[in-house]
């Protein structure tokens, strides 16, 4: 029992972290809160499904294509919509939120629900870890998550592009004055966030069915994790993912699985009361106190 909490909590946490990272990367760099995250997530899953089932493409091809399409969609969203709204925080939020809702509700209207919409797992079978049987798909998710994190860290801290990203994140105008194009960087950050979103969809969705409500769920979870961890801090997102991930699994195992949905909410409100900027939020303390 305890071991399975350990293992499943870990997997759950990695899933949460992957979902949240896409959102937090974009926000951390360009200050765009991409509320169409949930929409992109489901869209990524549906594209993969369509390529795989309807067009008969090989799995990795259709998955790869849909990840690229979603990335392009993110960039396009910046180029067409957000670029006109830069700096108007509220308008940006409303624009991305409405796009997300358009995507999700459109899919709902087109009849995306039921068992038919289901991506197969990459590989069947399960492995024993600490005496707990774990499906291979979950193991792939954990490995991919770890790999993604390492790549991300390398990219942000050891490449020129990453340096430009950090520059824009810290001071857009200064970055502009040393020859970085903030618009380009912001666009890339959106593309990157969307790619991560689609990637996590490809990896995670085979665990269940593709449904519109799942899109809203993902958005909620990503946001809750980001808020608890601090919206722009990668470390915070990881820590928060593990906190929520484990508490969720603990609740469902020891109390009642019906209560798992209460966990993120309770955690979030509790954290906000004591630390409004999240656990690792770069506390703009003046802002925080008033």
């Amino acid at each position: 029992m305890l071991l399975s909490v350990l293992v499943y909590g870990f997997i759950n946490s990695v899933i949460l972290a992957m979902v949240a990272l896409g959102f937090s990367i974009t926000f951390g760099i360009s200050r765009v809160a991409n509320f169409s995250h949930g929409g992109f997530y489901i869209l990524g899953g549906i594209f993969t499904w369509y390529g795989l089932i309807k067009l008969g493409m090989p799995y990795f091809l259709s998955a790869g294509l849909s990840i690229i399409i979603i990335g392009a969609l993110g960039a396009l969203m910046y180029k067409v919509i957000l670029i006109r709204l830069r700096g108007l925080e509220l308008s940006e939020v409303i624009a991305t939120l409405s796009l997300g809702i358009v995507i999700l509700e459109l899919l709902r209207g087109l009849g995306v629900f039921g068992y038919e919409f289901r991506n197969p797992v990459f590989m069947d079978g399960s492995v024993d870890i600490l005496g707990v049987g774990v499906g291979i798909q979950r193991i792939i998710i954990v490995c991919a998550g770890a790999l993604l994190l390492i790549l991300l860290h390398f990219f942000v801290h050891h490449t020129k592009m990453g340096l430009a990203f950090r520059g824009v994140a810290q001071q857009e105008h200064t970055a502009l004055s040393v020859g970085i194009n903030p618009d380009l960087v912001s666009m890339l950050s959106l593309a990157m966030g969307s790619v991560m979103c689609a990637l996590s969809a490809v990896l995670i969705l085979p665990l269940g069915v593709i449904s519109v409500d799942e899109g809203y769920d993902i958005l909620i979870k990503a946001l809750a994790v980001c808020i608890i961890g601090g919206l722009e801090s990668t470390l915070g997102v990881l820590v928060a993912a593990f906190i929520i991930g484990y508490i969720e699994v603990l609740t469902s195992m020891y109390i009642s699985s019906a209560l798992t949905s209460v966990v993120p909410l309770a955690c979030m409100l509790g954290i906000l009361l004591v630390r409004p900027s999240g656990i690792f939020g770069k506390s703009k303390e003046i802002e925080e106190r008033v």
Binding site: L90, S91, I94, V102, G109, L223, A258, G270, I286
Partner: protein, 341 residues
């Protein structure tokens, strides 16, 4: 030397006079001022009672949505841009529903009680987020109702997915429509009066600069609580009203479309004007009814409209129309071309 044309905008002479000096000298000037103000009041009054019975229902929904939009706009002009008006609506609806269903209170008690309890619970729900500003606040308000929906769904409280049915109805459609219209006008004029009063300036100040409010010796938390209480109270009334109107309450009270509608109405009509949201609701309410056949595409259309307006006409319809009404626009020759600045 090239001649180009540029658009010139001049205030109409009547506006120039009436804006500064409240001195009207002719029927024409009085009409200029009064007609646009009377039009909605009289128009709605006539419409409400003259339209065929089916459209009366639409009017009721429109009025209620107008209140939701007004409440959103009020909160937004206090710097509290909520993306989850549905939370307040649902809390009001569930409070009234519970009061009616479990306690057996009659409708004229359950609605006020539901409003009050709903507003108290809403304020308590939002209280932890009051340390947040701008977008951070929006993010949290967006997810709270969606999470609560999950909570209701999985724990099965208040009827879970089934909801509560068989609540007491209103005595008749005329009463309903009259009540909703009166409530709408009270909300509208009340909020306008509040915003224009000295006390209301504190709420405006909250958005402009909350640190300066704090340096003025006023606790921003306390004033934000007041703003939320007022804003959520309005939505709770809407929720309580609608539960009794539909005679049932379900999880759909938390759904995103209820959060999106007030924002869409405000953005389409013009944020921060109070008249704008009203105009927006009057446009979107019947439109959404006309689109009922499209099912969930209805929300798509709202959201698409919302996105389009925020990008293409961010000021909204009302300021746009007001400008057209009050200004003369014409093309004039600009000799020597238009200067660079």
């Amino acid at each position: 030397m090239s001649t180009e044309r540029r658009k010139e905008r001049i205030d109409r002479p009547i506006k120039a006079v009436t804006d500064d000096i409240f001195c009207l000298s002719s029927i024409r000037e009085i009409a200029y001022l009064v007609i646009p103000r009377m039009l909605p009041v009289v128009g709605l009054l006539l419409l409400a009672f003259l339209v065929p019975p089916y459209w009366r229902k639409v009017m009721v929904i429109t009025f209620v949505m107008g209140m939701m939009a007004l409440s959103w706009d009020f909160m937004a002009s206090c710097g509290l841009t909520s993306l989850g008006q549905a939370l307040f609506f649902a809390l009001g609806a569930y409070s009234a529903g519970a009061a009616n269903h479990y306690l057996g209170l009659p409708i004229y008690l359950s609605i006020p009680l539901g409003t009050l309890i709903g507003a108290v619970i809403s304020t308590a729900c939002i209280y932890p987020t009051l340390g947040l500003r701008g977008i951070y606040f929006s993010v949290v308000t967006l997810i709270i109702p969606l999470m609560l929906m999950r909570v209701v769904e999985t724990t099965g409280i208040f009827g879970g997915t089934e909801g509560i049915t068989g609540l007491s109805p209103f005595p008749g459609i005329i009463v309903t429509i009259a009540l909703s219209m009166i409530a709408l006008w009270i909300t509208f004029f009340g909020l306008r009066r509040l915003i224009d009063s000295d006390y209301g300036h504190i709420f405006v100040a909250l958005k402009d600069n909350d640190r300066a409010v704090e340096a003025s010796g006023l606790s921003i938390r306390w004033f934000k609580v007041q703003a939320i209480f007022i804003g959520s109270g309005i939505c709770c009334f809407c929720g309580a009203f609608m539960t009794h109107y539909y005679m049932s309450i379900g999880m759909s009270a938390f759904a995103v479309d209820l959060s999106i509608f007030p924002i869409a109405a405000s953005v389409v009509g013009g944020m921060g004007t109070l008249v704008g949201p009203l105009l927006g609701a009057i446009i979107l309410g019947p439109l959404s009814e006309a689109l009922r056949a499209f099912g969930s595409f209805r929300v798509v259309i709202y959201a698409a409209l919302l996105g389009t307006f925020i990008v293409m006409l961010p000021e909204g319809l009302f300021p746009y129309l007001a400008r057209k009404y009050q200004q003369i626009e014409r093309w004039v020759e600009a000799p020597g071309g238009i200067s660079e600045d």
